[in-house]
């Protein structure tokens, strides 16, 4: 599956897109990301599945668009 990353989180990961295995839930995805990019533990970000922010542990359907969003700072 494809993961989009923005802002500070994209900087930490080193790129704006990641290709990873299909993870069934956001919690499992988070575990993977924290293992691969330990610096993420020190930064706040939320996860959007199909362009909607999710709270807590949420399912990720096959083919869903997943994105890592640091705190918004528009305006």
């Amino acid at each position: 599956m494809k993961i989009l990353a923005f802002g500070k989180i994209a900087e930490i990961i080193g790129k704006p897109q990641l290709e990873v295995d299909d993870f069934p839930t956001t919690e499992i995805l988070l575990g993977y990301l924290h293992q691969q990019y330990p610096a993420l533990k020190n930064h706040k970000f939320s996860i959007a599945v199909n362009k909607k922010q999710v709270n807590g542990n949420a399912p990720i359907a096959l083919g869903a668009e997943v994105a890592l969003l640091p705190p918004f700072s528009g305006g």
Binding site: G7, K8, A67, L69, P70, G74
Partner: protein, 148 residues
């Protein structure tokens, strides 16, 4: 008959020119049911940071999500207030200090709806749209903007 609204692009490349704002105002003179317009403009400040002053903000966005989210905010605010018109523009890319990066424009028959809706839109745009500002300092360092 209700007009069906579809997502509109809110993004503008670079700063928002005062002439664009004037044109947007002038476009509303043909709607003679309007009694009041409320406008909010966000302008990039030359804040002092460690090591220098902000000289520009570079905006990026998760554009698809931002447009969908902006559409939902727009619908909710139209449902809540008796508005005639609503316009939202946000910059992408570099906007220098002193330049305009956000333009929110509401119009209604009576002033209160326009004023209240404009304020609510500004708060929701800042809180709910996936847009990020990176402050570029005059020493060419940068840091991610934090909204308060």
């Amino acid at each position: 008959m209700e007009k069906t609204r579809t997502p509109k692009n809110i993004f503008v490349e670079g700063a928002i020119a005062p002439e664009k704002i004037a044109k947007s105002i002038a476009n509303h003179s043909s709607n003679t049911a309007i009694g009041g317009h409320s406008i909010f403009l966000g302008q990039v400040r030359a804040d002092e940071k460690e090591g220098g002053h902000v000289r520009a903000i570079e905006y990026t966005a998760y554009e698809d999500m931002a447009l969908q989210q902006a559409f939902e905010i727009r619908e909710a605010v139209f449902a809540k207030y008796p508005l005639t018109c609503m316009h939202i523009y946000h910059s992408l890319g570099e906007v220098k200090t002193g330049e305009i990066c956000l333009f929110v424009f509401t119009s209604s028959k009576h002033r209160k709806a326009a004023i209240d809706a404009c304020e609510e839109l500004v708060e929701r745009i800042k809180k709910e749209l996936p847009i990020w500002g990176k402050e570029i300092l005059d020493n060419e360092q940068s840091e991610w903007k934090v909204n308060t």
